[in-house]
Symmetry: C2
Subunit: 249 residues, 2 copies
């Protein structure tokens, strides 16, 4: 049963040299992450770091008014819980499972211990944190200057890049939460994209039909995030089986 799961499905873990990988492998615990599960809440002391393989996790911030906005997403290219090794142990954000799947998790103490060995793991984690920062930065600018439709395209592309297939289990309502907009706004934008043949959807499911058309309608932010993630994690990339790989220089 566990044979189909392997820590090296996560790019960060896969990037480690054999010795470090082996040392960690014994400590990694495979967990199943159901849709909607909260990995941590604002101000909460983190106990584990998560390395998603098939799951996708969304980092977001909830305002006093209840309004929310996603600041970054994490798939098999990254990890959840960077503040463990950055210090401070908590953040004002929360992390919620956006697509059910699996992840390997590591105890807080184990992660800290390995991080402070100053081996390749440290290097990989810091680089990933830098990529995460880029993503958040881009989201900040994007939120300010781009339309709902552009941001929806960007979000869909980033989401399918992290998925095995091209169908997302996702309602307009949830997407609206991620983008920090009204549900109706998503319905309208999605309707236009469907009419244009970029995507198709039915109650709770969204499929990407035409990647490049979506990329044309997306804002520059998608390409920036993708390119920068590729650059920083060089040989370590997003999972992208059926995807015509962007030439990551």
């Amino acid at each position: 049963m566990a044979s189909i799961h392997n820590p090296s499905q996560n790019s960060l873990l896969a990037a480690l040299p054999a010795a470090e990988f082996e040392r960690l492998a014994g400590e990694l615990e495979l967990v199943t992450l159901p849709l909607g599960e909260r990995l941590y809440d604002p101000g909460e002391q983190l106990q584990h770091a998560y390395f998603p393989t098939t799951a996708i996790v969304s980092l977001h911030y909830v305002m006093e008014s209840g309004a929310m906005a996603e600041t970054a997403g994490v798939g098999n290219e990254g990890m959840v819980g960077v503040s463990l090794f950055m210090g401070g142990d908590t953040t004002p954000s929360s992390a919620v499972v956006q697509a059910a799947g699996h992840a390997y998790r590591l105890e807080r103490q184990v992660l800290m211990r390995e991080f402070h060995r100053a081996g390749l793991l440290q290097r990989v984690l810091l680089r990933y944190t830098q990529a995460l920062m880029t993503q958040v930065t881009q989201t900040a600018a994007c939120n300010r200057h781009h339309t709902i439709e552009q941001r929806l395209c960007r979000w869909l592309l980033l989401a399918v890049d992290r998925s095995a297939g091209r169908e997302l289990v996702m309602t307009h309502e949830l997407v609206a939460g991620m983008l920090g907009v009204r549900r109706e706004g998503v319905t309208e934008a999605a309707g236009r994209l469907q009419q244009a043949g970029c995507i198709s959807y039915r109650r709770g499911h969204i499929s990407v039909l035409n990647r490049s058309a979506l990329e044309d309608r997306a804002c520059e932010c998608y390409a920036v995030v993708r390119k920068e993630t590729g650059r920083l994690l060089s040989d370590v990339r997003y999972r992208q089986e059926p995807v015509p790989a962007l030439p990551v220089a």
Copy 2:
């Protein structure tokens, strides 16, 4: 002449134990940063890290369209150039001097060497990076949900917190660039704040008259950033001579 300047005016440097501080002191170069100077541009290989003392630096992102938005500000509580030790050497953002003043800078190689000693400097820098991430995250959410007036209040408060006095040398035009809005929007919002007695301004200068009134009109984001920065840098705080210190738990 140099006697009035001291590296310990920067909180991160001041937080170092004597031994580490001394070792660095010889390598720190005092520089004068004039308004508008660009410390780095997107994609450029960084050569120095900057630890501001009296200067304030703004990190921002410029879109293809030319529109821009600040993602974070750095004063004497922080440093510019975290990507040096995070890896990757470059970022898609740029750093521009927002308020003229001084900073100490460190050669790239020296910073790297000291960072990898894994002493307190590393710890301090990672914690600061975490605080920076909080600031960017908050900006992302704020850009999505708050009005120009609220964001202007937040921005003014963060700016005076980093300044010695309560007057900022700053035009509406520049502020608009930071907030990623039209100049006219800033003029209108500033007009209202002046009428309410929160601030006063004249051509190129803005003075904060009533902090608490500004705080009331600001969005929650100001308090979150300030509190989180205080928490992460515990004994290491924003300069705040005339400011009634927030109880930083």
